[in-house]
């Protein structure tokens, strides 16, 4: 993707490194992407691929309250609505948090304060950024609780998080995130902690609300199924880097990276033949301290032998395989298409 002046959020060569006693953890190592208003980006990858670290970096939540722990070293550029966040005053970024950009977390039970009513927590999010009284904030919170589908919101306002079911709690989190009409909504594994039936409801809710509010949305997940219906674009991360990026339809139907093939192969699908086995991606996620040389995926890649050693020695660049569809792989595009066709 070239520089897009339309982009609402633009991340350029983002690096998030954590110094530790064992060495430098390169959680995110040169990530770039763009996102326009009203669009949804799905960031997909295994645990430890840098998805959440990326979202926290966008929110400016690394570095706050690190309290002597190894501070994150962040470089690169993050722009929100043209404003550079990466070297902005921390207090200016704080004022954007919750108002222009908001976040939904994975586990709504642990992400809500157990001692305060949900109403109070939502009102608080509203009052940080709006000079309104208690009553107005309450009205706004009740409105949002109703909007995210919580029955009798006026009553539930005064309930504590533990009095809600998992799905309802996630709705509370969503209400809290949307209370200030943010332009950017980041949902970090929004359905991972929920029952399967509730997952679908929450995903529908996020999609409906996005249409209504017109926000830009980033959905972070390890589950391609989650983003299949939600995302316009998909970014696949591996070991802190982007290995494939493109329109969702392309990534699902003509994926260009062996890692994406692996992810798709390990995902249950209705259109698969009966009896066909799921194939997991072999091996374990790489160490982020000693990232494998060349293509970080090469020790796990079944096709690494076909690149005449390039996978082992050279870090592959992201290259455009089709319009707006990029992949970082040494395999020639023709070979990739042939392998994918043969497997599917």
């Amino acid at each position: 993707m070239t520089d897009d002046p339309e982009a609402f959020l633009s991340v350029r060569d983002l690096k998030v490194h954590f110094p530790t006693d064992d060495g430098l953890v390169k959680a995110v190592d040169g990530l770039s992407f763009e996102l326009a208003r009203g669009r949804t980006l799905g960031i997909v990858g295994e645990s430890g691929s840098g998805k959440s670290v990326t979202s926290l970096a966008v929110m400016g939540l690394h570095g706050v309250g690190q309290y002597g722990r190894g501070r994150a070293r962040i470089s690169g550029e993050i722009r929100l609505d043209g404003q550079r966040l990466t070297d902005a005053d921390p207090d200016a970024v704080r004022r954007l948090r919750g108002r222009q950009m908001a976040m939904i977390f994975q586990d709504p039970l642990s992400s809500l304060h157990p001692y305060y009513t949900v109403g109070r927590q939502i009102s608080e999010a509203y009052r940080v950024h709006n000079p309104v009284g208690r009553a107005a904030a309450r009205a706004r919170a009740v409105e949002l609780l109703g909007r995210v589908g919580i029955p009798r919101p006026d009553r539930r306002f005064d309930d504590y998080p533990h009095q809600f079911s998992g799905g309802m709690r996630q709705r509370v989190m969503i209400a809290m995130a949307l209370v200030n009409n943010p332009d950017l909504l980041i949902a970090d594994e929004p359905t991972t902690a929920l029952d399967v039936t509730v997952q679908a409801q929450i995903l529908d809710l996020i999609r409906d609300l996005q249409r209504e509010f017109g926000s830009a949305v980033i959905v972070i997940t390890h589950d391609l199924g989650v983003v299949a219906e939600l995302a316009d674009d998909i970014l696949v991360m591996y070991a802190g880097r982007c290995v494939e990026r493109g329109p969702a339809e392309r990534v699902f139907h003509a994926p260009q990276h062996p890692y994406t093939w692996g992810l798709l192969g390990s995902m249950p699908r209705l259109d698969r033949e009966r009896g066909a086995r799921l194939t997991p991606v072999r091996g374990a996620p790489p160490s982020l301290i000693n990232v494998p040389s060349g293509c970080a995926f090469h020790p796990r890649c079944p096709y690494a032998e076909l690149t005449a050693g390039a996978s082992r020695s050279t870090v592959p660049e992201l290259r455009e395989a089709a319009r707006r569809h990029f992949a970082a792989c040494h395999l020639p595009v023709a070979d990739r298409d042939r392998i994918w066709e043969a497997s599917g």
């Binding site: 929110m59 939540l61 706050v64 309250g65 309290y67 002597g68 722990r69 207090d91 704080r94 004022r95 954007l96 948090r97 919750g98 108002r99 908001a102 976040m103 977390f105 586990d107 642990s110 992400s111 809500l112 304060h113 157990p114 001692y115 009513t117 608080e124 999010a125 940080v128 950024h129 504590y160 533990h162 989190m173 809290m176």
Partner: protein, 332 residues
Amino acid sequence: MLAYLVRRLVAVVVMLLVVTLVTFGIFFLVPKLTGGDPAALFAGRQADPAAIAGIRRKLGLDAPVIVQYARFIWGLVAGRDYASGADVTHCAAPCFGYSFKTEQPVWPLLIDRFPVTFSLAIGACVLWLVVGVATGVLSALRRGSLWDRAAMATALAGVSLPIYFTGMLALAVFTYKLHWLTVSYVPFTQNPLAWARGLLLPWIVLAFLYAAMYARLTRATMLEILGEDYIRTARAKGLAEPVVIRRHALRATLTPVLTILGMDLGALVGGAILTETTFSLQGLGQAAVRAISDQDLPVILGVTMIAAFFVIAANLVVDLLYAVVDPRVRLA
């Protein structure tokens, strides 16, 4: 809630009964088994057997133990009469009996000693709460800093050094060398300023120990809480860091502190033995020490029961407060 309270209060009474049973058993039964005779102690060294027998009758020590226990409990609830010939002494409820040593009734002695111990415990408590919690919070927020290391080293010293060492040191320096403070007990109602001045040194010494424990507890809890997901949520809302700390982290940090506080305060109000002894304060702890060295069994019994009562009561208060602080706790 009311049912819960009633049940807990019944449990308190049962617990106290068990404590009296055990205390009574230890202090009246054990001397009997080892051949010691409370009546002989009460009579003094050179008493003749007839006098001892008279005292035994008067104190009711000639009756079976079970009867003695029943009379003791009855005395606690309704008072009892001690008869010696035509001479009848009434001991009003709650009757803990008479000191073997001074022949004075035990209950007024306890009433007399209690304010001293209570003053000591309360003053020290305020001091250690403020200093301990503040130190712990600051250490957690500046983890690894010079302040943190210095505070935690001091805290380690605080928990390691015994009261009689720090107490003696404080007395040597501030009282005998510098002549800044003398230790004495003046009732609060008489002169609040003199009350505070007279207790300042024991407060500081006692608070040093507890502040050290509380600083460590607060620091550890705060660090744990700061890593909680809901703290990240609070930051993600755009709250300023001081608000995150005060409104979100501190509230959760103080819950375990409150639990420990209830227990510590309950135990201290029952007698701060080492501190009172070191500073010669005539509190319950001192009374217990003297009673033990004098083998003054009724006084030991009285002090033990008072201490047990406060520990049990403190536990109940903590449990009730917990339900107020943490909405997840349901009293049922």
